[in-house]
Symmetry: C3
Subunit: 359 residues, 3 copies
């Protein structure tokens, strides 16, 4: 369980106030397996602690054998919300674990207000005169446009660069700290995308203006995690007592990691990490790209999967998607991924408002 369990350990280690209430269970998902051309799916999925458990007797074992590439890890927490003294005093947005539950609720309330702002209203000009600098050391047009839209929807202005790597290029050779000291002279808030884990924290330590981490290499992407959790609340109506399946290449996904941090703040959340075994293999035998490619496309959400999915379920995706979700799923009301992208706008509007005008 190298991939998933190391992920999980990393995710929750040291960031949970009452760790003794978390239950870890490693095992397999089982159920009545159906196969179609593009995907496999289970009806009434259940978590199986021990593969040789007698419960398996009730199921078609051959189906389970077909699932050999899949393992699941269940966690369940019952964490009470912890009030921290620093609440509503966030100066920067650096990583998911900096938010406590109360702060999250407050951000979500502000995000909901943002959905209602109308063109031409005074609220749509609340950031007039403020300047955001988007400092992207690697291109990420989607994320950049979302932040810039957030700023401009509130009447603020933006200085853009997708060329920030030029600052630290061989020819110019400037340290990140020097770049930040220069750019903070031109702007009121910096949204930074960097290729190195920890870069955002380093920038925040230097800057006298707010820094928002828009992804720092394999590290964190906290606003993505915030919009994921906000989307669950908007779609399901609650965050306590939910069951979340995280599917895919969990070992390499900073999106999943940041999300796991946030979900651990809520009560009785069950998270199922479902990933191909080959992702583990890939870790142990890095050269086995062939196995990874073989596993790709094994987990596809299509209309057959929708048929056996609960009516109140929600299908989310950080986008861009490749073949993980077929396009005929898009029209299903449970397909939330484009609403999720839009929620990213509202979350980012809320964050820039809170960081610039106060909590």
């Amino acid at each position: 369980m190298a991939a998933s369990s190391s992920l999980l350990t990393y995710s929750l280690q040291g960031h949970v106030s009452t760790p003794n209430t978390i239950k870890f269970r490693e095992g397999f998902m089982y159920g009545n397996l159906y196969s179609s051309t593009n995907s496999k799916y289970l009806t009434n999925p259940k978590f199986l602690h021990n593969r040789n458990s007698s419960k398996l007797e009730n199921f078609d074992k051959s189906s389970v054998r077909n699932e050999i590439l899949c393992r699941a890890l269940e966690i369940e927490n019952s964490i009470s919300p912890v009030l921290v003294s620093k609440k509503f005093e966030l100066d920067d947005v650096i990583e998911a674990q900096q938010f406590d539950r109360e702060t999250l609720n407050y951000i979500f309330d502000v995000a909901l207000d943002m959905e209602k702002i109308e063109k031409g209203s005074s609220k749509s000009q609340m950031l007039k005169g403020y300047l955001m600098a988007t400092l992207f050391y690697e291109p990420s047009t989607r994320t950049r446009l979302s932040f810039e839209s957030a700023m401009k929807r509130l009447g603020g202005e933006v200085l853009t660069t997708e060329n920030a790597r030029e600052f630290s290029s061989a020819a110019k050779g400037e340290t990140l700290e020097d770049t930040i000291r220069t750019v903070e002279g031109y702007s009121d808030i910096i949204v930074m995308r960097h290729f190195e884990s920890g870069a955002a924290r380093k920038a925040a330590a230097t800057a006298s203006i707010p820094i928002i981490n828009a992804g720092d290499g394999p590290g964190q992407h906290p606003t993505q995690a915030l919009l994921d959790v906000y989307t669950i609340q908007r779609e399901i109506g609650k965050l306590d007592g939910i069951k979340v399946g995280l599917v895919g290449d969990l070992a390499n996904g900073r999106t999943v990691r940041s999300l796991a941090y946030l979900l651990a703040k809520y009560q009785d959340v069950k998270i199922y990490f479902v990933s191909p075994d080959v992702v583990k293999m890939k870790e142990r035998f890095g050269e086995r790209i062939d196995l990874y490619e073989q596993a790709r496309g094994k987990y596809i959400v299509d209309t057959n999967v929708l048929k056996v999915m609960q009516k109140k379920a929600v299908v989310m995706h950080p986008l861009p998607r490749l073949d993980e979700i077929t396009v005929d799923v898009d029209t299903d009301p449970r397909a939330a991924y484009f609403r999720q992208a839009k929620n990213g706008l509202y979350i980012r509007m809320a964050l820039v408002k809170l960081l610039l005008l106060g909590w």
Copy 2:
């Protein structure tokens, strides 16, 4: 006549309501030929149906022999304006043939109003709160700046990317439809430049907000065609009964094709397609690049050409120019190409206004 005639057939096929009123005539331009170092030109040019016609007796045949690389195709139409029920209901700007005459007139009236908007006036803020996304899959700084200027001149804001190809790059692999669904969540109107013909139509089929085609590969560039026709009206004062010579590499020019679509909407327009024969040859023998290079620079507008040109003639060019027009022509009042570029701003202001605030 492969090049020109196939172009023309393509241009008008199926888009003309009264095709029987069009006359096609293939032949040669003739006149008194003058040669200078850089160019050849004819005084009193006339269209000659049959090269062996007796009319040629009146002219210096050696001159005509010198013109062997040039052929011309004349068309004349007398189309009545057709009122279509869809008028003033355009949701997108995708291709030249979507506009009927009445819609064109309306757009031109709005463009004329745009010329008069003054800084600091309330009209200069009519698009306050609106967001345009310029989604360029290939760089075209000139076109992008024109659209962004149009939006900002009306108080609107812009999200820019010349890096849109990143969305669909190998690593990200997103479909155009998914990209559009994401970007429409951040903006109110999308101006798209793409490298594939038909991309704009595909985007418009997906989007719930207006799409403007800023060029899709070898396909269309409708706003360029609109500004060309608007420029003729502004310079000449009318569009019916005009004579237009389209000179150059007609086979490869989407600008010329889109323009031909629009000119076909007006009455008694005579269009002369003038192109080097080698452009045809290039089509049949793609490898004869040497011939094409040989033909390049054969049609140069210089001050000698101006001398024999009508006083009320207009010299237009989509820009950028290479050596087709010499710089000493720029000061001549008939040189309209920089005014033409400026007209592009007014046309685009009119279009974004109409698409966002209504027709």
Copy 3:
């Protein structure tokens, strides 16, 4: 003294109204030499005309021998300010020598006002409705962001391109003049960065709107020079009677050249040009890159240098810095380089205000 003296000659030739008051003295800097791991420095530095002067007897000659790579050139001017008839009629900002003393003072007064503009005030919207085009033929994110911030801090808007080279690319092949004529149709002021010396002047000769030179190849970078002089005035309180040491690769620095032009406008300014001899050698023997690399890092300002520096001295740097100034210097009140960068914003705000709204 090839490097420095040719620089100096070039700097002042023809631009000084009373050249007979300038004294040139070539020689060496001497003093009590201290060495640390990273740098060498002199206490109570004095200028020595003749290396074999008897004054050297008072010093440790071995120290001076250690300084063999360093030579200095002192100039002293006592120029009276000259009132020129063109004052306050600048239409463009092209080169440092176009400014007379009175104009400089006026610009600095406006820049000081700019420091006091508050968010939401009417002054912060003085350029509302105005459009700047930043036309960068080579990327310079720092300079571009500074100009764009200046424009937006005053309520103006910006059309951005770091891709301007596309205009003149092999495929498009447009002349700079044609590009300017097109872009001036979209904007009210153009800030241009170009890779060729003289490009800004050429653009200004064509344009009917103001051009600001944001660096043209090895030529000029006048706004950098203006902010340097403004910083001296802000830090020291005066410009007459000051002593300025210009240290580094003087032969290749357009920043230094533009600054020398401006300092020559003030009275009793002593400028010490201090550069490694190898920079000269590099000029005579261009292949001796090894010597240049050897010289690099010889002049490092660190805390040891600060200890022997005057209390009212100012350490400036155009940024980005490599290893010329150690980071522990940053907290010293005499370290002015980040304030200097910020002053660049105020100077540029002043310039766009003056060029767009009048002098």
